[in-house]
Symmetry: C2
Subunit: 185 residues, 2 copies
């Protein structure tokens, strides 16, 4: 197994209670009461969906952008960050056929993706997983996993609303927004 692989399994087991599954564009995911997120094999469960993604190298961020992100971001899993979201995204063929410089220009110079994410730091923590280059046929290109305090949910909602309004998002064919709450508290 790739040491950077993560499982996201919607089903009857998992650390998180699913509070909503919303198709923003394209087909939704099946509803499930729980979400498992982990690097080990998920617990036995009646599964509604099973998604895989790999943490990988930066595709667009420059040294100065990465430096600012690292300086401002918090690690995931803070005890008080009991709410979370898995946003699953698939971009269209036109996006993937573009060379690197054109994707970068849309991603940051015209859509300000890094800067929009920066505005939500440090309240919203984030980990990006890539699924496009797995050997299996993956229904999404990216899974992004977020956590935040319930009182910061509006910051997260603003973040995703801003991104959905960008030129970059015109290349998004399918997006499903899964909201969760962690047990305990």
């Amino acid at each position: 197994m790739n040491g950077r692989l993560w499982h996201f399994v919607g089903g009857s087991a998992g650390q998180f209670q699913v509070t909503s599954v919303t198709a923003i564009s394209g087909e939704t995911l099946p509803a499930a009461p729980r979400l498992f997120v982990g690097q080990e094999a998920p617990p036995p469960s009646s599964e509604a969906f099973r998604l895989l993604g790999v943490v990988s190298n930066e595709r667009y961020a420059t040294r100065s952008e990465k430096g600012e992100l690292v300086a401002r971001q918090e690690a995931m899993g803070r005890a008080e960050a009991r709410e979370g979201a898995m946003i699953a995204i698939k971009k269209n063929d036109q996006w993937w056929a573009m060379p690197q410089d054109e994707r970068r220009a849309i991603f940051e110079e015209r859509s300000r993706h890094v800067q929009i994410g920066m505005d939500a730091l440090p309240q919203v923590a984030r980990r990006l997983h890539h699924c496009r280059d797995l050997e299996s046929d993956a229904p999404f290109d990216f899974l992004t996993w977020f956590d935040f305090k319930a009182s910061d949910r509006n910051i997260f909602d603003d973040l995703v609303a801003c991104l959905r309004d960008t030129e970059e998002w015109k290349y998004v064919d399918r997006e499903v927004d899964v909201r969760v709450v962690r047990d305990g508290g």
Copy 2:
């Protein structure tokens, strides 16, 4: 299965006769008499190695570089291109920790990777496969598959010699060069 997935299997079966397996840096691959290259499942064979890779989007090439490559390159599998090579590469952690702009600067502005490849067009045809973001634990980050006429072998040898002399190659931890000849002719 990912529709962009390719298998490279060294063993007792396959379309290609293996003429050499050379470790350029790091550990070699086991010797095998034949190499199978294909998108379907490989034929039953006593296997020495089995590698997987996925054709993916450009990571560094700009619109103008891609345009020039596409204008000059030939498709793989020309009847007269009976010699081939699979070059398997693993880069080190320092490479992968660099942000996009620094990797691009080393790759092209300082190592002229695209330009060196361009010099071998149209004689050498090429297809790049990514292995770093597979779900399985892959021993290499990239598999590049080349074909050329026997009379153009010196152009291919110059190509790989030039690349191995670049700053980019200081980040290559492991490289294995597998040369093959296609049956018939």
